[in-house]
Protein backbone atom coordinates (compact mmCIF):
# COMPACT_ATOMS: atom_id res chain seq x y z
CA UNK A 1 0.00 0.00 0.00
CA UNK A 2 1.31 3.45 -0.89
CA UNK A 3 -0.17 6.91 -0.55
CA UNK A 4 -0.47 9.56 -3.25
CA UNK A 5 3.05 10.86 -2.66
CA UNK A 6 4.43 7.37 -3.32
CA UNK A 7 5.48 6.81 0.30
CA UNK A 8 4.66 3.26 1.40
CA UNK A 9 2.27 3.04 4.34
CA UNK A 10 2.92 0.97 7.45
CA UNK A 11 -0.13 2.12 9.38
CA UNK A 12 -3.00 4.21 8.07
CA UNK A 13 -4.25 6.65 10.69
CA UNK A 14 -6.34 9.21 8.84
CA UNK A 15 -6.43 12.98 8.87
CA UNK A 16 -7.40 14.85 12.01
CA UNK A 17 -10.00 17.54 11.18
CA UNK A 18 -8.91 21.17 11.47
CA UNK A 19 -10.08 22.92 14.67
CA UNK A 20 -13.57 24.44 14.53
CA UNK A 21 -12.24 27.98 14.89
CA UNK A 22 -9.52 29.49 12.74
CA UNK A 23 -7.34 30.37 15.71
CA UNK A 24 -6.19 27.93 18.33
CA UNK A 25 -3.57 27.83 21.06
CA UNK A 26 -1.46 25.28 22.91
CA UNK A 27 1.24 25.57 25.61
CA UNK A 28 3.61 23.20 23.79
CA UNK A 29 3.55 22.29 20.10
CA UNK A 30 5.82 19.65 18.60
CA UNK A 31 6.24 19.58 14.83
CA UNK A 32 6.86 16.06 13.53
CA UNK A 33 5.61 12.68 14.74
CA UNK A 34 8.74 10.72 13.88
CA UNK A 35 10.55 8.84 16.64
CA UNK A 36 12.10 12.02 18.08
CA UNK A 37 8.86 14.05 18.07
CA UNK A 38 6.87 11.19 19.57
CA UNK A 39 9.47 10.55 22.29
CA UNK A 40 9.43 14.29 23.10
CA UNK A 41 5.62 14.25 23.30
CA UNK A 42 5.75 11.21 25.53
CA UNK A 43 8.33 12.70 27.89
CA UNK A 44 6.43 15.99 28.35
CA UNK A 45 3.06 14.21 28.35
CA UNK A 46 4.14 11.84 31.13
CA UNK A 47 5.15 14.89 33.14
CA UNK A 48 1.55 16.10 32.84
CA UNK A 49 1.86 18.82 30.21
CA UNK A 50 -0.69 19.44 27.46
CA UNK A 51 1.15 18.69 24.22
CA UNK A 52 -0.02 19.16 20.64
CA UNK A 53 1.86 17.30 17.89
CA UNK A 54 1.50 18.32 14.24
CA UNK A 55 2.40 15.78 11.58
CA UNK A 56 2.29 16.51 7.85
CA UNK A 57 1.44 12.92 6.88
CA UNK A 58 -1.62 11.06 8.17
CA UNK A 59 0.03 7.66 8.37
CA UNK A 60 3.16 5.93 9.66
CA UNK A 61 5.52 5.34 6.70
CA UNK A 62 6.68 1.83 5.88
CA UNK A 63 10.36 2.58 5.40
CA UNK A 64 12.93 0.93 7.65
CA UNK A 65 15.03 4.16 7.88
CA UNK A 66 16.74 4.21 11.30
CA UNK A 67 17.33 0.62 12.41
CA UNK A 68 20.07 0.68 15.07
CA UNK A 69 18.97 1.76 18.54
CA UNK A 70 21.74 2.17 21.07
CA UNK A 71 21.83 1.11 24.68
CA UNK A 72 21.43 4.74 25.73
CA UNK A 73 18.32 5.05 23.54
CA UNK A 74 16.91 1.86 25.07
CA UNK A 75 17.53 3.32 28.55
CA UNK A 76 15.61 6.45 27.47
CA UNK A 77 12.81 4.35 25.96
CA UNK A 78 12.66 2.39 29.23
CA UNK A 79 12.14 5.61 31.13
CA UNK A 80 9.35 6.49 28.67
CA UNK A 81 7.73 3.04 28.96
CA UNK A 82 8.51 1.77 25.44
CA UNK A 83 11.81 -0.05 26.11
CA UNK A 84 10.37 -3.56 26.51
CA UNK A 85 8.28 -3.42 23.32
CA UNK A 86 11.29 -2.26 21.28
CA UNK A 87 13.75 -4.75 22.80
CA UNK A 88 11.33 -7.71 22.63
CA UNK A 89 10.67 -7.14 18.93
CA UNK A 90 14.21 -6.13 18.00
CA UNK A 91 17.33 -8.11 17.14
CA UNK A 92 19.76 -7.77 20.05
CA UNK A 93 23.44 -7.44 19.18
CA UNK A 94 26.72 -6.38 20.78
CA UNK A 95 29.44 -7.54 18.39
CA UNK A 96 30.60 -5.82 15.22
CA UNK A 97 32.99 -7.48 12.76
CA UNK A 98 35.02 -5.84 10.03
CA UNK A 99 36.23 -7.83 7.03
CA UNK A 100 38.72 -6.85 4.37
CA UNK A 101 38.81 -8.23 0.85
CA UNK A 102 37.75 -11.84 0.42
CA UNK A 103 39.08 -13.01 3.79
CA UNK A 104 36.56 -14.92 5.93
CA UNK A 105 38.29 -13.94 9.19
CA UNK A 106 37.57 -10.41 10.46
CA UNK A 107 40.47 -7.93 10.65
CA UNK A 108 38.81 -6.21 13.59
CA UNK A 109 35.92 -6.74 15.94
CA UNK A 110 34.33 -4.74 18.73
CA UNK A 111 31.88 -5.22 21.59
CA UNK A 112 29.33 -2.46 22.15
CA UNK A 113 28.65 -3.61 25.71
CA UNK A 114 32.08 -3.95 27.32
CA UNK A 115 30.57 -3.68 30.82
CA UNK A 116 28.20 -6.62 31.34
CA UNK A 117 25.43 -7.02 33.93
CA UNK A 118 23.35 -4.16 32.57
CA UNK A 119 19.66 -4.39 31.69
CA UNK A 120 20.01 -3.43 28.04
CA UNK A 121 22.36 -4.71 25.32
CA UNK A 122 24.74 -2.56 23.29
CA UNK A 123 22.25 -2.32 20.43
CA UNK A 124 18.89 -3.45 19.16
CA UNK A 125 18.07 -3.46 15.45
CA UNK A 126 14.47 -2.68 14.62
CA UNK A 127 12.69 -0.88 11.81
CA UNK A 128 11.87 2.75 12.62
CA UNK A 129 8.13 2.20 12.03
CA UNK A 130 7.95 -0.31 14.87
CA UNK A 131 9.59 2.20 17.23
CA UNK A 132 7.11 4.84 16.10
CA UNK A 133 4.24 2.41 16.59
CA UNK A 134 5.32 1.50 20.14
CA UNK A 135 5.79 5.17 21.03
CA UNK A 136 2.30 5.85 19.65
CA UNK A 137 0.91 3.09 21.89
CA UNK A 138 2.36 4.89 24.92
CA UNK A 139 1.28 8.36 23.72
CA UNK A 140 -2.28 7.11 23.20
CA UNK A 141 -2.49 6.37 26.95
CA UNK A 142 -2.07 10.08 27.69
CA UNK A 143 -5.24 12.16 27.30
CA UNK A 144 -3.14 15.34 27.55
CA UNK A 145 -1.22 14.60 24.31
CA UNK A 146 -3.01 15.28 21.03
CA UNK A 147 -1.54 14.27 17.67
CA UNK A 148 -2.95 16.09 14.67
CA UNK A 149 -2.34 13.92 11.60
CA UNK A 150 -2.23 15.53 8.18
CA UNK A 151 -1.58 19.02 9.61
CA UNK A 152 1.18 20.83 7.72
CA UNK A 153 3.07 23.87 9.01
CA UNK A 154 3.06 26.60 6.35
CA UNK A 155 4.64 29.47 8.24
CA UNK A 156 6.29 30.26 11.57
CA UNK A 157 6.21 33.66 13.29
CA UNK A 158 8.27 33.72 16.48
CA UNK A 159 7.46 36.20 19.24
CA UNK A 160 8.86 36.92 22.71
CA UNK A 161 6.14 34.99 24.57
CA UNK A 162 5.51 32.26 22.03
CA UNK A 163 5.24 31.33 18.40
CA UNK A 164 2.44 31.61 15.86
CA UNK A 165 2.10 28.86 13.29
CA UNK A 166 0.10 28.93 10.08
CA UNK A 167 -1.17 25.39 9.63
CA UNK A 168 -3.21 23.72 6.90
CA UNK A 169 -5.31 20.63 7.43
CA UNK A 170 -7.49 19.13 4.72
CA UNK A 171 -7.27 22.28 2.60
CA UNK A 172 -8.33 24.46 5.53
CA UNK A 173 -5.95 26.93 7.16
CA UNK A 174 -5.77 27.94 10.81
CA UNK A 175 -3.42 29.77 13.15
CA UNK A 176 -1.97 28.05 16.15
CA UNK A 177 -0.34 30.03 18.97
CA UNK A 178 2.24 27.95 20.83
CA UNK A 179 3.89 28.88 24.12
CA UNK A 180 6.86 26.72 23.10
CA UNK A 181 7.55 25.11 19.75
CA UNK A 182 9.78 22.05 19.42
CA UNK A 183 10.83 21.35 15.84
CA UNK A 184 11.34 17.61 15.38
CA UNK A 185 10.54 17.82 11.69
CA UNK A 186 13.63 16.20 10.27
CA UNK A 187 16.51 17.09 8.00
CA UNK A 188 14.36 19.20 5.66
CA UNK A 189 12.74 20.98 8.61
CA UNK A 190 9.97 23.37 7.54
CA UNK A 191 10.32 25.28 10.81
CA UNK A 192 14.04 25.85 10.19
CA UNK A 193 13.41 26.88 6.60
CA UNK A 194 10.55 29.27 7.42
CA UNK A 195 12.68 30.92 10.12
CA UNK A 196 15.50 31.30 7.60
CA UNK A 197 18.03 29.60 9.90
CA UNK A 198 21.43 28.23 8.90
CA UNK A 199 22.39 24.55 8.61
CA UNK A 200 26.14 24.48 8.07
CA UNK A 201 28.50 21.59 7.40
CA UNK A 202 30.01 19.19 4.91
CA UNK A 203 28.48 17.06 2.20
CA UNK A 204 30.56 14.00 1.33
CA UNK A 205 30.87 13.12 -2.33
CA UNK A 206 29.79 9.51 -2.29
CA UNK A 207 26.54 7.60 -2.77
CA UNK A 208 25.42 4.60 -0.78
CA UNK A 209 22.68 2.15 -1.66
CA UNK A 210 20.39 0.75 1.02
CA UNK A 211 18.83 -2.54 -0.02
CA UNK A 212 16.51 -3.74 2.72
CA UNK A 213 15.46 -7.22 1.66
CA UNK A 214 13.39 -10.04 3.10
CA UNK A 215 14.98 -13.50 3.09
CA UNK A 216 15.63 -16.52 5.26
CA UNK A 217 19.30 -16.51 6.14
CA UNK A 218 21.44 -17.83 8.95
CA UNK A 219 23.98 -15.47 10.46
CA UNK A 220 24.79 -14.47 14.02
CA UNK A 221 23.13 -11.23 15.19
CA UNK A 222 26.20 -9.05 14.55
CA UNK A 223 27.09 -6.02 12.47
CA UNK A 224 29.24 -7.13 9.53
CA UNK A 225 31.17 -4.58 7.53
CA UNK A 226 33.46 -5.12 4.53
CA UNK A 227 36.22 -3.01 3.04
CA UNK A 228 36.94 -3.89 -0.60
CA UNK A 229 34.96 -7.15 -0.70
CA UNK A 230 35.02 -9.24 -3.92
CA UNK A 231 31.30 -8.45 -4.38
CA UNK A 232 31.85 -4.67 -4.34
CA UNK A 233 35.52 -4.22 -5.29
CA UNK A 234 37.30 -1.09 -4.12
CA UNK A 235 34.27 -0.02 -2.06
CA UNK A 236 32.53 -0.95 1.17
CA UNK A 237 29.46 -2.94 2.22
CA UNK A 238 27.46 -3.55 5.39
CA UNK A 239 25.04 -6.24 6.53
CA UNK A 240 22.66 -5.97 9.45
CA UNK A 241 19.78 -8.12 10.63
CA UNK A 242 16.35 -6.66 11.42
CA UNK A 243 13.24 -8.40 12.78
CA UNK A 244 10.86 -10.32 10.45
CA UNK A 245 13.71 -11.79 8.33
CA UNK A 246 14.49 -8.33 6.97
CA UNK A 247 18.15 -7.57 6.26
CA UNK A 248 19.81 -4.26 5.69
CA UNK A 249 22.45 -4.40 2.99
CA UNK A 250 24.39 -1.23 2.31
CA UNK A 251 26.71 -0.79 -0.68
CA UNK A 252 29.04 2.10 -1.43
CA UNK A 253 28.38 3.20 -5.03
CA UNK A 254 30.77 6.08 -5.79
CA UNK A 255 29.98 9.68 -6.71
CA UNK A 256 29.06 10.03 -10.38
CA UNK A 257 26.06 7.76 -10.65
CA UNK A 258 22.43 7.99 -11.77
CA UNK A 259 20.66 8.00 -8.42
CA UNK A 260 17.23 7.34 -9.94
CA UNK A 261 18.51 4.31 -11.82
CA UNK A 262 20.49 2.97 -8.84
CA UNK A 263 17.35 2.01 -6.89
CA UNK A 264 15.61 0.21 -9.76
CA UNK A 265 15.27 -3.48 -8.84
CA UNK A 266 17.19 -4.62 -11.94
CA UNK A 267 20.16 -2.52 -10.76
CA UNK A 268 19.94 -3.42 -7.06
CA UNK A 269 19.56 -7.17 -7.51
CA UNK A 270 23.04 -7.78 -9.01
CA UNK A 271 24.57 -6.31 -5.83
CA UNK A 272 22.50 -8.58 -3.63
CA UNK A 273 23.28 -11.67 -5.73
CA UNK A 274 26.99 -10.85 -5.86
CA UNK A 275 27.01 -10.63 -2.06
CA UNK A 276 24.81 -13.58 -1.18
CA UNK A 277 25.10 -15.91 -4.17
CA UNK A 278 23.31 -16.22 -7.51
CA UNK A 279 20.65 -18.57 -6.18
CA UNK A 280 19.55 -16.49 -3.18
CA UNK A 281 15.78 -16.02 -2.82
CA UNK A 282 14.73 -12.60 -1.52
CA UNK A 283 12.05 -9.95 -1.76
CA UNK A 284 12.50 -6.20 -1.92
CA UNK A 285 11.55 -4.39 1.28
CA UNK A 286 12.90 -0.87 0.73
CA UNK A 287 15.56 0.49 -1.64
CA UNK A 288 17.10 3.90 -1.23
CA UNK A 289 20.22 5.87 -2.20
CA UNK A 290 21.75 8.40 0.16
CA UNK A 291 24.74 10.70 0.48
CA UNK A 292 26.47 11.71 3.70
CA UNK A 293 26.08 15.06 5.28
CA UNK A 294 27.58 16.24 8.53
CA UNK A 295 25.98 19.52 9.49
CA UNK A 296 24.30 21.32 12.34
CA UNK A 297 22.57 24.57 13.19
CA UNK A 298 24.73 27.15 14.97
CA UNK A 299 22.16 27.21 17.80
CA UNK A 300 19.34 24.79 18.66
CA UNK A 301 17.40 27.24 20.84
CA UNK A 302 15.88 30.33 19.22
CA UNK A 303 13.75 32.02 21.87
CA UNK A 304 10.64 29.90 22.23
CA UNK A 305 11.55 27.69 19.26
CA UNK A 306 13.71 24.65 20.04
CA UNK A 307 15.17 22.24 17.49
CA UNK A 308 15.77 18.55 18.24
CA UNK A 309 16.92 15.58 16.16
CA UNK A 310 17.65 15.74 12.42
CA UNK A 311 16.19 19.25 12.13
CA UNK A 312 19.13 20.46 14.25
CA UNK A 313 21.94 18.11 13.23
CA UNK A 314 22.75 15.53 10.57
CA UNK A 315 25.47 12.86 10.48
CA UNK A 316 26.43 9.98 8.23
CA UNK A 317 24.65 6.77 9.19
CA UNK A 318 27.84 4.74 9.86
CA UNK A 319 27.72 5.14 13.60
CA UNK A 320 23.99 5.01 14.27
CA UNK A 321 24.19 8.55 15.54
CA UNK A 322 21.12 10.02 13.84
CA UNK A 323 18.01 8.84 15.63
CA UNK A 324 20.05 7.98 18.73
CA UNK A 325 21.31 11.56 18.75
CA UNK A 326 17.69 12.75 18.52
CA UNK A 327 16.65 10.67 21.51
CA UNK A 328 19.57 12.15 23.47
CA UNK A 329 18.17 15.61 22.62
CA UNK A 330 14.67 15.01 23.91
CA UNK A 331 16.02 13.22 26.99
CA UNK A 332 18.03 16.34 27.80
CA UNK A 333 15.24 18.80 27.00
CA UNK A 334 12.24 17.07 28.60
CA UNK A 335 12.97 17.66 32.27
CA UNK A 336 14.31 21.17 31.67
CA UNK A 337 11.23 22.34 29.79
CA UNK A 338 9.10 20.64 32.46
CA UNK A 339 10.72 22.73 35.21
CA UNK A 340 10.34 25.92 33.16
CA UNK A 341 6.69 25.21 32.29
CA UNK A 342 5.93 24.57 35.97
CA UNK A 343 7.63 27.79 36.95
CA UNK A 344 10.22 25.86 38.98
CA UNK A 345 13.16 27.10 36.86
CA UNK A 346 14.02 30.16 34.85
CA UNK A 347 13.88 29.92 31.05
CA UNK A 348 17.68 30.26 31.17
CA UNK A 349 17.73 26.52 31.95
CA UNK A 350 16.75 25.89 28.32
CA UNK A 351 20.05 27.48 27.29
CA UNK A 352 21.83 24.49 28.87
CA UNK A 353 19.91 22.29 26.43
CA UNK A 354 21.52 24.35 23.68
CA UNK A 355 24.99 23.77 25.21
CA UNK A 356 24.60 20.08 26.02
CA UNK A 357 22.77 19.06 22.84
CA UNK A 358 25.42 20.88 20.80
CA UNK A 359 28.15 19.02 22.72
CA UNK A 360 26.41 15.77 21.76
CA UNK A 361 25.95 16.84 18.14
CA UNK A 362 29.59 17.90 17.86
CA UNK A 363 30.83 14.58 19.22
CA UNK A 364 28.54 12.74 16.80
CA UNK A 365 29.68 14.89 13.88
CA UNK A 366 33.36 14.46 14.83
CA UNK A 367 33.05 10.68 14.98
CA UNK A 368 30.98 10.51 11.86
CA UNK A 369 33.42 12.70 9.91
CA UNK A 370 36.38 10.59 11.00
CA UNK A 371 34.60 7.37 10.00
CA UNK A 372 33.75 8.86 6.65
CA UNK A 373 37.34 9.90 6.07
CA UNK A 374 38.39 6.30 6.74
CA UNK A 375 35.61 4.83 4.58
CA UNK A 376 36.08 7.16 1.63
CA UNK A 377 39.68 8.47 1.65
CA UNK A 378 39.94 11.86 -0.06
CA UNK A 379 43.53 11.65 -1.40
CA UNK A 380 46.07 9.09 -2.60
CA UNK A 381 47.98 9.49 0.66
CA UNK A 382 44.94 9.03 2.87
CA UNK A 383 43.94 5.96 0.89
CA UNK A 384 47.48 4.59 1.37
CA UNK A 385 47.19 5.21 5.11
CA UNK A 386 43.78 3.52 5.26
CA UNK A 387 45.02 0.50 3.31
CA UNK A 388 48.16 0.34 5.46
CA UNK A 389 45.93 0.09 8.54
CA UNK A 390 43.83 -2.68 6.99
CA UNK A 391 46.88 -4.66 5.82
CA UNK A 392 48.57 -4.39 9.22
CA UNK A 393 45.33 -5.19 11.06
CA UNK A 394 45.18 -8.62 9.46
CA UNK A 395 48.54 -9.49 10.96
CA UNK A 396 49.07 -7.33 14.06
CA UNK A 397 46.74 -6.62 16.97
CA UNK A 398 48.16 -3.11 17.43
CA UNK A 399 46.66 -1.87 14.14
CA UNK A 400 43.12 -3.17 14.69
CA UNK A 401 41.81 -0.29 16.83
CA UNK A 402 42.63 2.08 13.92
CA UNK A 403 40.07 0.29 11.72
CA UNK A 404 37.07 2.63 11.55
CA UNK A 405 33.92 1.29 9.95
CA UNK A 406 31.80 3.62 12.07
CA UNK A 407 32.24 4.32 15.80
CA UNK A 408 28.84 3.38 17.07
CA UNK A 409 26.72 5.60 19.22
CA UNK A 410 27.27 5.61 22.96
CA UNK A 411 26.13 8.16 25.55
CA UNK A 412 27.92 11.51 25.32
CA UNK A 413 29.27 13.16 28.49
CA UNK A 414 29.11 16.87 29.33
CA UNK A 415 32.29 17.36 31.37
CA UNK A 416 31.88 21.14 31.42
CA UNK A 417 28.14 21.31 32.08
CA UNK A 418 27.13 24.44 33.98
CA UNK A 419 24.60 22.30 35.84
CA UNK A 420 27.24 20.01 37.35
CA UNK A 421 28.96 20.57 40.68
CA UNK A 422 32.62 19.67 40.10
CA UNK A 423 34.19 17.00 42.29
CA UNK A 424 35.72 18.43 45.47
CA UNK A 425 37.29 15.13 46.47
CA UNK A 426 39.65 12.73 44.68
CA UNK A 427 37.81 9.84 43.06
CA UNK A 428 39.20 6.60 41.67
CA UNK A 429 36.88 5.92 38.73
CA UNK A 430 33.11 5.77 39.07
CA UNK A 431 30.79 8.08 37.15
CA UNK A 432 31.82 11.75 37.26
CA UNK A 433 29.46 14.73 37.06
CA UNK A 434 28.22 15.23 33.50
CA UNK A 435 28.17 11.51 32.64
CA UNK A 436 25.24 9.09 32.64
CA UNK A 437 24.86 6.60 35.50
CA UNK A 438 26.15 3.14 34.62
CA UNK A 439 23.43 0.51 35.01
CA UNK A 440 23.84 -2.37 37.47
CA UNK A 441 21.67 -5.09 39.00
CA UNK A 442 19.65 -3.80 41.96
CA UNK A 443 17.74 -6.31 44.09
CA UNK A 444 15.37 -8.00 41.62
CA UNK A 445 15.68 -5.30 38.98
CA UNK A 446 18.03 -2.65 37.64
CA UNK A 447 19.49 0.58 38.90
CA UNK A 448 18.38 2.70 35.92
CA UNK A 449 14.78 1.48 36.23
CA UNK A 450 14.76 2.60 39.87
CA UNK A 451 15.76 6.17 39.00
CA UNK A 452 12.43 7.33 37.56
CA UNK A 453 11.74 10.71 35.93
CA UNK A 454 12.94 13.09 38.66
CA UNK A 455 16.12 14.04 40.53
CA UNK A 456 17.38 11.19 42.74
CA UNK A 457 20.00 10.94 45.45
CA UNK A 458 21.73 7.56 45.20
CA UNK A 459 23.37 6.83 48.54
CA UNK A 460 25.48 4.01 49.89
CA UNK A 461 25.11 3.68 53.64
CA UNK A 462 24.73 7.45 54.20
CA UNK A 463 22.65 8.14 57.29
CA UNK A 464 22.16 11.88 56.76
CA UNK A 465 19.00 13.72 55.74
CA UNK A 466 18.35 14.48 52.07
CA UNK A 467 16.88 17.89 51.16
CA UNK A 468 13.09 17.89 51.33
CA UNK A 469 11.30 16.48 48.30
CA UNK A 470 14.39 14.79 46.85
CA UNK A 471 13.88 11.13 46.03
CA UNK A 472 16.37 8.82 47.71
CA UNK A 473 17.70 5.46 46.55
CA UNK A 474 19.95 3.33 48.73
CA UNK A 475 22.34 1.02 46.86
CA UNK A 476 25.09 -1.47 47.67
CA UNK A 477 27.10 -4.12 45.83
CA UNK A 478 27.79 -3.69 42.12
CA UNK A 479 25.69 -0.51 41.81
CA UNK A 480 27.76 1.25 44.51
CA UNK A 481 30.96 -0.18 43.08
CA UNK A 482 30.24 1.15 39.56
CA UNK A 483 29.62 4.61 41.00
CA UNK A 484 32.79 4.22 43.13
CA UNK A 485 30.70 5.21 46.15
CA UNK A 486 32.42 4.54 49.47
CA UNK A 487 30.37 3.68 52.57
CA UNK A 488 28.61 6.94 53.48
CA UNK A 489 28.87 8.41 49.94
CA UNK A 490 26.16 9.71 47.62
CA UNK A 491 25.57 10.70 43.98
CA UNK A 492 23.00 13.25 42.83
CA UNK A 493 21.38 12.22 39.55
CA UNK A 494 19.45 14.43 37.12
CA UNK A 495 16.10 13.30 35.69
CA UNK A 496 17.94 12.27 32.48
CA UNK A 497 20.13 9.88 34.53
CA UNK A 498 23.21 12.12 34.26
CA UNK A 499 25.27 12.66 37.39
CA UNK A 500 25.02 16.23 38.72
CA UNK A 501 27.32 15.87 41.76
CA UNK A 502 28.87 13.26 44.03
CA UNK A 503 30.32 13.18 47.52
CA UNK A 504 32.30 10.76 49.64
CA UNK A 505 31.06 12.69 52.70
CA UNK A 506 27.84 14.45 51.71
CA UNK A 507 26.04 17.08 53.77
CA UNK A 508 22.42 18.13 53.44
CA UNK A 509 23.56 21.66 52.57
CA UNK A 510 25.97 20.51 49.85
CA UNK A 511 23.29 18.33 48.29
CA UNK A 512 20.74 21.17 48.40
CA UNK A 513 23.24 23.52 46.74
CA UNK A 514 24.06 20.98 43.99
CA UNK A 515 20.38 20.32 43.40
CA UNK A 516 19.66 23.98 43.08
CA UNK A 517 22.60 24.41 40.68
CA UNK A 518 21.43 21.44 38.56
CA UNK A 519 18.05 23.14 38.27
CA UNK A 520 19.73 26.20 36.85
CA UNK A 521 19.93 28.48 39.90
CA UNK A 522 23.39 29.83 38.97
CA UNK A 523 22.53 30.59 35.36
CA UNK A 524 21.21 34.09 36.04
CA UNK A 525 23.04 36.95 37.73
CA UNK A 526 20.27 37.44 40.28
CA UNK A 527 20.12 33.76 41.23
CA UNK A 528 21.24 34.53 44.79
CA UNK A 529 18.08 36.61 45.32
CA UNK A 530 15.79 33.61 44.87
Amino acid sequence: MANVAGIPVYKEIGATPAPATDTDSAPVVIVGAGPVGLAMALDLGRRGHAVTVLNRLDFVAHCSKAICFSKRSLDILDRLGAGDAVTDKGVVWNIGKVFWGGDDAPVYQFDMLPVKDQKRPGFVNIQQYYVEDYLLDEVSKLPNVEIRWGHAVEDVTPGPEGVTLDVTAGGQGYRLHAGWLIACDGSRSTVREKMGLDFEGRVFEDNFLIADIRMTHEMPPERWFWFDPPFNPGRSALMHRQPDDVWRLDFQLGWNIDREAAIRPENVEPFVRAMLGEGVAFEREWYSVYTFQCRRMARFVHGRVIFAGDSAHLVSPFGARGCNGGFADIDNLGWKLDLVLRGAADAALIETYNDEAIATADENILNSTRSTDFLTPKSTASRALRDAVLELAGEHAFARPFVNSGRLSTAVSYPTSLLSTPDAETWAGGVPPGSPVLDAPLEDGWLLDALGDDFVLISHGWDGTAPEGLMRLEVSGLAAERLALPEGGATLVRPDQYVAARWQHPTTEAIAAALSRARGALLKGDACLH
Binding site: T380, A381, A384, L385, D387, A388, V389, E391, L392, F398, A399, F402
Partner: protein, 64 residues
Protein backbone atom coordinates in the same frame (compact mmCIF):
# COMPACT_ATOMS: atom_id res chain seq x y z
CA UNK B 1 60.17 21.88 25.67
CA UNK B 2 59.15 19.27 23.15
CA UNK B 3 59.02 15.67 24.35
CA UNK B 4 60.40 14.71 20.94
CA UNK B 5 64.11 13.89 20.68
CA UNK B 6 65.60 16.12 17.95
CA UNK B 7 69.30 15.47 18.63
CA UNK B 8 71.11 12.39 17.20
CA UNK B 9 69.80 9.31 18.98
CA UNK B 10 70.95 6.46 16.68
CA UNK B 11 74.07 4.90 15.33
CA UNK B 12 74.59 3.60 11.79
CA UNK B 13 72.78 6.40 10.02
CA UNK B 14 73.97 5.35 6.58
CA UNK B 15 72.80 1.77 7.16
CA UNK B 16 69.37 2.98 8.23
CA UNK B 17 69.14 5.35 5.28
CA UNK B 18 69.96 2.49 2.95
CA UNK B 19 67.28 0.28 4.57
CA UNK B 20 64.68 2.98 4.04
CA UNK B 21 65.62 3.37 0.38
CA UNK B 22 65.67 -0.40 -0.10
CA UNK B 23 62.19 -0.65 1.43
CA UNK B 24 60.77 1.03 -1.67
CA UNK B 25 62.69 -0.88 -4.31
CA UNK B 26 60.45 -2.10 -7.11
CA UNK B 27 57.33 -0.49 -5.62
CA UNK B 28 54.86 1.74 -7.44
CA UNK B 29 54.38 5.20 -5.95
CA UNK B 30 51.05 4.07 -4.56
CA UNK B 31 52.59 1.07 -2.82
CA UNK B 32 55.47 3.20 -1.59
CA UNK B 33 53.00 5.55 0.07
CA UNK B 34 51.38 2.59 1.77
CA UNK B 35 54.74 1.29 3.00
CA UNK B 36 55.60 4.70 4.46
CA UNK B 37 52.23 4.69 6.20
CA UNK B 38 52.83 1.23 7.62
CA UNK B 39 56.21 2.27 8.93
CA UNK B 40 54.73 5.36 10.57
CA UNK B 41 51.99 3.31 12.22
CA UNK B 42 54.43 0.66 13.47
CA UNK B 43 56.75 3.26 14.96
CA UNK B 44 53.91 5.31 16.43
CA UNK B 45 52.56 2.29 18.24
CA UNK B 46 56.02 1.39 19.50
CA UNK B 47 56.60 4.92 20.83
CA UNK B 48 53.20 4.75 22.47
CA UNK B 49 53.23 8.35 23.72
CA UNK B 50 50.69 10.51 21.89
CA UNK B 51 52.51 13.75 22.86
CA UNK B 52 55.75 12.56 21.26
CA UNK B 53 53.94 11.42 18.12
CA UNK B 54 51.99 14.68 17.80
CA UNK B 55 55.25 16.60 18.24
CA UNK B 56 56.80 14.52 15.44
CA UNK B 57 53.77 15.19 13.22
CA UNK B 58 54.15 18.91 13.88
CA UNK B 59 57.90 18.74 13.13
CA UNK B 60 57.26 16.88 9.86
CA UNK B 61 54.56 19.27 8.59
CA UNK B 62 55.82 21.75 5.95
CA UNK B 63 56.16 25.29 7.29
CA UNK B 64 53.15 27.39 6.24
Amino acid sequence: MSALTLTPNLSGHDDLYQSLVALHEGLSEEDSLKVWAKLALLLANHIGDRRVIEAAIAAARPAA
